[in-house]
């Protein structure tokens, strides 16, 4: 590759620069009360962040000189380096807020768990793009999962469960790499079972799963009109039972839907699916029942409270566990359509939202820029993700493809969880909003990841 195949992807650069600038402005607004009162701008946290920002942009620019092949060749090395850093931080790291996640050099600290996101992704992409790897095979599945699990466990040991969960986002790459869809279906049903058990109880959730199961069965049953009739009749029954609160009839309507599904599948002679379907329903009900049981009997009150904050906000103590989310929702809600204007966010200015410069920076966006500004920020992220997928499908080597998908998955997970958390959709997991939250190492690592992605985009 000694010639220029393609220019820099201008859209990606623009999106990156706009995100970084928006992030800087939001932090500028959120920390105004602090740095206007401190002696000098540069000694405040905002000044520090500005230096980090320049460093990040420098990294973004600098790493354009590194071609993808170098990353490909050194991927396992970097992966190992990441693991070593994670081990080191467990031994020599500085404990802040109960987690041993910081390494300090002089006055500047960074989080190896952030760096490890990048290195893990490199290693994983290299493994997945190996010619011998086939995600349909058990061995490949195990190795690939282990490559994610090792750093995740090390991070979880710090303990930093939020960041550990980030590594889970990389299963999206597995999907693209060919992991059979059944795993995802089982996973989705399992998640549904767990959540449904907590939300509505195992029986109601079982009914819902049965309805979905029979829907799928009827859908694929060559659209027999009598099957649809049976199904609709059942749905009517479910609606009636739920509306009237006839709890003793719930299991009957659930069973009815199961029977409809089985009937359709047997007539089509899809015996395998009939069995698998029943298995999935049982799995969901079992998980629902156990999650309900675990919530009641196993979890300690403070853990129950955390779940309450997420699923049942009205049950949680507004001065205690639910305080963050409540204040964050209020701040965002008070923004309205157009927002209150830059540096005019009162709840931001008056420090109502804890962690508002890091994990809850989106509240500043929501309050000061309103619905329009928030949607604009999300739109920028969406364009970024879209562009990364488009580039990933263009590149010539699987390493680059999986790497680009990995970057996109990580970004998506961060954005969805972080913003969802400020909106009260997702439980509070302390992970930053990429390019916008305060925090040097995350900013630099995300810039680095995106820089490498941009360079790879040129190879397409």
């Amino acid at each position: 590759m000694y010639y220029r195949k393609r220019a820099y992807d201008g859209l990606l650069v623009t999106l990156y620069i706009s995100l970084v600038v928006i992030g800087w402005l939001m932090l500028y607004s959120a920390t105004a009360r602090e740095w206007t009162s401190s002696a000098s701008f540069w000694s405040s946290s905002m000044g520090k962040q500005t230096i980090w920002l320049m460093l990040a942009v420098g990294v973004f620019w600098l790493f354009q000189i590194v071609e993808w092949k170098y990353w490909f060749r050194t991927a396992y090395l970097f992966y190992a380096l990441g693991i070593v850093l994670l081990v080191i931080v467990l031994i020599w790291g500085r404990e802040i807020k109960g987690a041993r996640s910081w390494l300090y050099f002089g006055g500047w600290g960074f989080q190896p768990s952030e760096v490890a996101k990048f290195t893990t992704l490199l290693g994983l992409s290299a493994y997945l793009s190996h010619y011998g790897t086939d995600m349909r095979r058990r061995a490949s599945q195990l190795v690939a999962s282990a490559m994610i699990l090792v750093p995740a466990v090390l991070v979880a040991l710090q303990p930093d469960w939020g960041t550990a969960m980030v590594y889970g986002a990389l299963v999206l790459v597995f999907y693209r790499a060919g992991l059979p869809v059944e795993y995802f279906i089982v996973g989705a049903v399992a998640v549904m079972g767990l959540l449904g058990g907590l939300l509505v109880g195992w029986l109601k959730m079982g009914v819902v799963v049965s309805v979905l199961y029979s829907l799928v069965a009827v859908w694929y049953s060559k659209r027999w009109w009598w099957a649809w009739l049976l199904w609709l009749l059942g749905v009517g029954g479910v609606a009636y039972v739920l509306k009237e609160g006839l709890e003793e009839w719930e299991w009957i309507v659930g069973l009815y839907h199961l029977l409809v599904a089985e009937l359709v599948l047997f007539i089509r002679r899809w015996y395998r699916w009939a069995v698998v379907g029943i298995g999935l329903v049982v799995l969901a009900i079992g998980l629902g029942w156990s999650s309900e049981f675990a919530f009641r009997e196993v979890l300690k009150p403070h853990q129950q409270e955390r779940i309450n904050v997420w699923l049942f906000p009205h049950k949680a103590d507004p001065q205690g566990a639910a305080y963050n989310v409540l204040q964050s929702k209020l701040a965002i809600g008070s923004g309205g359509l157009w927002g209150k204007g830059f540096r005019k966010g009162r709840m931001t200015e008056l420090n109502y939202v804890p962690e508002q410069t890091t994990d809850f920076i989106f509240t500043t966006v929501g309050e000061e820029q309103g619905f329009v500004g928030s949607v604009a920020v999300l739109a920028i992220f969406l364009m970024l993700l879209w562009r990364l997928v488009v580039l990933a499908e263009r590149v010539e080597h699987d390493f680059m493809r999986f790497y680009l998908y990995g970057v996109a998955s990580l970004l998506f997970f961060h954005v969805f969880v972080n913003v969802g958390m400020t909106l009260g959709l997702v439980p509070i997991i302390g992970i930053p909003l990429p390019f916008i939250s305060q925090g040097g190492s995350a900013l630099v690592v995300f810039s680095l990841m995106l820089s490498v992605a941009l360079r790879m985009g040129r190879e397409a």
Partner: protein
């Protein structure tokens, strides 16, 4: 590579995932920011505090600009329960505030189910604390988190007088708060009696609202200019018609007695002085905790010092009704000014006999009034009722009652303090019920003629009659209000309108002359003053429970009346002995501004009708 080709489709799935994921976020954003207003409202409520600013209550002045009631700064101690240190040194705190342990516990442990109290909202621990205690407390305040002294204003009465007129304040009750529609809040004060109650809407002013931005710790950051904010408006100052000097002088004359004095300026109906004895110092009711006991003590006193006798007590007017009777009879042509009466020292009609005292023959109305001749007025009364023949006697009583009613008897005059009594005029219906319709006649009810029997009046009504006579036929409703604030608000119309009686002005001359002569040679000679021409009428109300009540009405000077006065002294004997001298002193004091008859003043002050309390051992 079919398999790899198939996998390409998965890119679209992932793109859909991204789109749906962020779409969920956008939907939630819309829910929070666009179509669910709760968050916006709640956010406002979280960061914005509406502070109610209670304005200073209006001050009260007397007619000469002397201050009667003002607001005096004092300290309250507030406590926020949740901020208390459970290990604080309560012994020292009790020493600082001179509290007993029980009192301390009682003040801290509130009934938390009561919605007036909250563990987060500061409540009153002590009220009206002496400043020296507060200064000592402030030294130790660091050791007592949750305690906080707050400056507040209480009512203060620099002159210690006119307690009944001015009234007092107390904390609002639950019911008032509930029914006020947000006008009052717990801890506010409201007028309970007197002027403070009657003019409460003027005195309290308008509460202001300040909208304050507070940060996450509740610290106030800045005051906002908001649509809901408004400055408080201080209560209106009221200028009362009370003459402080006269009031204090009247109170000094009434010490040791029970009874009432009302002095009115006839030309305007303004009340110059109103005393109800026994009286109390209004300052003791400015309600700190220890003074609650004083309040209870006053309420339990058998002499009822809280009872404003000047407007609430009903006395038989006795002979003080005679000038009015004479006027009514002359107006009705029952007698003429020259009608001659006879008085053998008693009046007899069949089995009815009523005594009179030794005095010259009542050759006309003037002399009858001068000597307060009972016989003459029995005759007058019978002539009044029997004028049209025996079958019209009951109907004639109606006419008499109408005149009395017109003169302000038997109904509330409408003075501007609450609790006024109506007195009582026995009407035709009353006697119909008492005897039987048409089974009674003038001779059954003759005691009305001399103000005894069923007729009852308040001292205020008596003073009003004196004012009416002084004005030769009209009166203004007695009132205290003279000016509201800077005078831009006018006083109520019904205090500015004269009530004219249907009695000819010319008829007043003989009556007033008789009232004048009673000082020179008549019933009120003991009250004679060489310096001031006064007119007056004594009265001695028979009291079945003890010594007679001494009554007097009068006015001075005769030609240009400046003051009309009514005095009632309970259990003091005849009207000429006590009430008339006191009234004459008051008139002299007000008209001449000095009192020449020091000996009389001395005697009246020394006179006691209430026995001294024996010290309880």
């Amino acid at each position: 590579m079919a398999y790899r080709g198939k996998l390409k489709a998965r890119a679209t799935h992932i793109q859909w995932l991204f789109l749906i994921g962020l779409g969920i976020l956008v939907f939630r954003l819309g829910q929070l920011q666009l179509w669910d207003p709760r968050y916006k409202i709640k956010a406002e409520a979280t960061i914005i505090d509406r502070e109610i600013i209670t304005p200073a209550r209006g001050l009260l002045y007397d007619r000469n600009g002397n201050i009667l009631v003002h607001n005096s700064p004092t300290y309250d101690i507030l406590v926020r329960y949740n901020a208390l240190d459970p290990h604080m040194d309560t012994t020292r705190l009790c020493q600082i505030f001179h509290l007993s342990r029980e009192a301390f516990a009682r003040r801290i442990e509130k009934d938390w189910r009561d919605k007036r109290y909250s563990k987060w909202i500061p409540f009153y621990f002590l009220k009206n604390v002496p400043p020296q205690y507060v200064h000592r407390f402030v030294e130790y305040q660091y050791a007592y988190p949750g305690f906080e002294p707050r400056l507040s204003l209480i009512r203060a009465y620099p002159h210690h007088s006119a307690a009944h007129v001015l009234g007092y304040l107390n904390e609002v009750t639950k019911e008032v708060v509930r029914d006020s529609g947000g006008l009052y809040r717990y801890g506010d004060f409201i007028g309970i009696s007197g002027i403070e109650k009657y003019y409460e809407p003027l005195l309290r002013g308008e509460k202001g609202v300040r909208i304050v931005l507070k940060d996450n710790k509740g610290t106030k950051v800045k005051v906002l200019e908001y649509s809901g904010a408004r400055p408080p408006r201080a209560g209106d100052d009221l200028y009362l018609s009370i003459d402080l000097d006269l009031q204090q002088y009247a109170e000094s004359l009434m010490q040791g007695k029970s009874g009432a004095i009302v002095a009115i300026e006839p030309s305007s109906g303004e009340i110059l002085a109103m005393v109800s004895a026994p009286f109390y110092d209004p300052n003791i009711l400015t309600l700190s905790e220890r003074d609650r006991l004083e309040l209870e003590k006053l309420q339990e006193d058998s002499l009822k010092p809280f009872f404003n006798r000047a407007i609430m007590a009903n006395y038989p007017p006795a002979s003080t009704i005679k000038p009015l009777m004479a006027l009514i009879a002359m107006q009705e042509r029952a007698i003429s000014p020259y009608t001659v009466g006879s008085c053998p020292g008693y009046y007899r009609y069949k089995e009815f006999t009523y005594g009179c005292h030794l005095h010259p023959k009542p050759r006309n109305v003037m002399i009858a009034l001068q000597h307060s001749c009972n016989s003459y007025f029995f005759m007058t009364f019978r002539r009044l009722l029997e004028r049209d023949g025996p079958q019209f006697e009951q109907a004639r009583l109606d006419i008499l009652v109408d005149y009395l009613y017109e003169a302000g008897l038997g109904r509330r005059l409408g003075v501007d303090i609450h609790g006024e009594s109506a007195g009582f005029i026995p009407s035709r219906e009353f006697y119909d019920a008492l005897y039987h319709p048409y089974r009674w006649s003038s001779t059954y009810i003759m005691s009305i003629a001399i103000g005894q029997g069923e007729l009852l009046t308040t001292p205020l009504q008596l003073a009003n009659i004196a004012a009416m006579i002084a004005n030769r036929g009209y009166y203004y409703t007695p009132h205290f209000i003279r000016q509201i604030g800077d005078g831009t608000k006018s006083i109520p119309l019904h205090y500015r309108r004269a009530h004219r009686l249907s009695i000819d002005t010319t008829l007043f001359a003989p009556v007033i002359e008789g009232m004048r002569r009673s000082f020179i040679y008549g019933t009120a000679t003991r009250a004679y003053s060489p310096h001031l021409a006064m007119a007056g009428k004594t009265g001695t109300a028979q009291n079945p429970h003890g010594k007679d009540h001494s009554l007097f009405i009068g006015f001075a000077p005769i030609d240009t009346p400046k003051i009309a006065v009514a005095v009632v002294v309970e259990n003091a004997g005849t009207g000429g002995k006590v009430a008339a001298p006191i009234a004459s002193l008051i008139m002299e004091k007000y008209v001449l501004d000095t009192v020449y008859r020091r000996y009389l003043e001395y005697r009246m002050r020394k006179l006691r009708t209430i026995p001294l309390k024996k010290p309880s051992l």
